[in-house]
Symmetry: C2
Amino acid sequence: MTDVTVEDFGSSLALTTAQGTRRFHAIWLRDNASDPETRAPGNNQRLIALRDIPADTRIAHADVSGNTLSVTFVPEDKTVAFDLAWLDAHAYDRDHSQPRGWVGPEIEPWDSGLMDRVPTGDFAALSQENAALQDWLGQVTRYGFGKVVNGPVEEGALFKIVDLFGHVRETNYGRLFEVRTEVNPTNLAFTGLGLQAHTDNPYRDPVPTVQVLYCLESSAAGGENMVVDGFAAARRLRKENPAYFDVLADHCARFEYAGEAGVCLTSRRPMIELAPDGELIGVRFNNRSLAAVTDVPFDKMATYYAAYRRLGEIIDDEAMEVTFRLNPGEAFVVDNTRVLHARKGYSGSGTRWLQGCYADMDGLRSTHDALRREMPEAAE
Amino acid sequence: MTDVTVEDFGSSLALTTAQGTRRFHAIWLRDNASDPETRAPGNNQRLIALRDIPADTRIAHADVSGNTLSVTFVPEDKTVAFDLAWLDAHAYDRDHSQPRGWVGPEIEPWDSGLMDRVPTGDFAALSQENAALQDWLGQVTRYGFGKVVNGPVEEGALFKIVDLFGHVRETNYGRLFEVRTEVNPTNLAFTGLGLQAHTDNPYRDPVPTVQVLYCLESSAAGGENMVVDGFAAARRLRKENPAYFDVLADHCARFEYAGEAGVCLTSRRPMIELAPDGELIGVRFNNRSLAAVTDVPFDKMATYYAAYRRLGEIIDDEAMEVTFRLNPGEAFVVDNTRVLHARKGYSGSGTRWLQGCYADMDGLRSTHDALRREMPEAAE
């Protein structure tokens, strides 16, 4: 059943296994060799550059035995063993077509149906049990947000949340920022207003990829936190009207914040950000800091504004939102490249005190993946 | 000479000034109004969302007087004044076509010709004089790197460089990392090897956008620092072979670092990163951490590898590189989204001790732009 054939004068091979036939190029195989002269046994970093591999590298011989493909490269006359499972997992001889706005299997778009199962971790368990932390970080990766409960009610406790997975990203707002609201009848008209769901700091490039908000006081009624999956909103927009999705993905918006001395932050990035192959990788949505959009041609600007309006309507749709209340000692973590957040209006008097900070999503994913690597039983 | 005409039943207007005729849409004008009900006078943040502006907004009346365009919007029946110079600066009714790989006027690609005028700032001047700091930050923005001389020779001095423009970005490597090399004849074969020019940490997403390297000891001969403009290299690749440029821009590479306990950093991003309209916004190049590339179809993989090889050859071309020596108390700052850096080989024995850290380019640009705003004579 397993078979290998050298093709095209040694520039590639065709490997047939139970998974089917996959072709691999000589140069790709040679560059991805895992022998100790090519990759450092300790940290797996590649020890050679492509310039160290002859441009005319060809396969002189290949055979399969058990779970191993053995390949001899010329002119180096070097024989390298490849694990068949590794080759199968890294096969690129496949259909790469995907619809614009695709997301990987580790991402699950959601709407208000997620309300009953908000990803929630217990502070003590997250701090002490790797399995609990790995599970919660996995949910934050999958859904783009997560709540923590039963944490300490003390200033700076939000840093203990960040310590679980990474490092604070300090900005001009400091290592942390205070969100204090005094809600009373005389200013209820103002503080009672909710804030439209938004992503934070789109005027930074890159944006802060994680935001942590930690509750220390909450005696006013109302003021619930609300989150919306920007990926789900963008994908719903595409389903309703592909031209709307495309015009927001194909043109850069501009964002700006220059509201304090010494700060003049500007960015030029699309509201819907795609990888070159159409993967949905980011959403920026923030009416307060949107600057004049000047990178859309005149004949597309009306469509651009109609699309921006419709995306806002989808974001405002209650069917898209998950709400939850933060009580003192509770926090939430949000993937700021994907999930929008907002505060609902207040309906009574009292105080509300949150502390917020930024951190990095790649560090969070790294911690999750490293925990998973160390717990093979959970690795599937 | 100045004239305005309402067009298309009030959905747009055509403004004629000495700069020519530019059209603007009613909805764009209304959204970008700067009256105190639309934008907060203090910090200029927009106070309303698009949902607060009627979808059927039309221009009922427009006229020009002096340097002001006055527009009355219905159904709001709201009249707003626009500054003609602001409108000219933000006009979008223009030709938007640009070649792939374009860069803005604030960016100047360079090659070895920059060697005689390496952007250099004096530590005391940068610390004390806004004009010196503004000039140096402007050069770092323009060229993607800059040197600092005459700084203190003390541990942690690199943080004083970061304090000039922003904040340290802490990672799993800590707030700072040590680069110590003992060069002696017995290990010369290893330490004497140069490192191919690379960008740092492409396995992060986002990558650290600024790297600072600060020299505390340097008694070994050789070991010069070398920088290459990744934007210039990518643009040269495009000039030589547009298909090579395209294949690296249109497909994601993968990068990985999982070489220590608790760390499993992975990213999926192209080596040449473009904005949706083809603006060159990032280069990732690092043979050590490149993982198996699996997002390129089989029929393009040979071209992909040929393009990757040619980009590496361009990067290795001495005609592209600028070298300089860092002596104790000297540092360099590099835009890690654009400029590659490397260390040359050593030719004698001794020690070399650098401290490095990461920071953010958007904060650096913000500090520069804020200084420029505060010094109008230098604003052009």
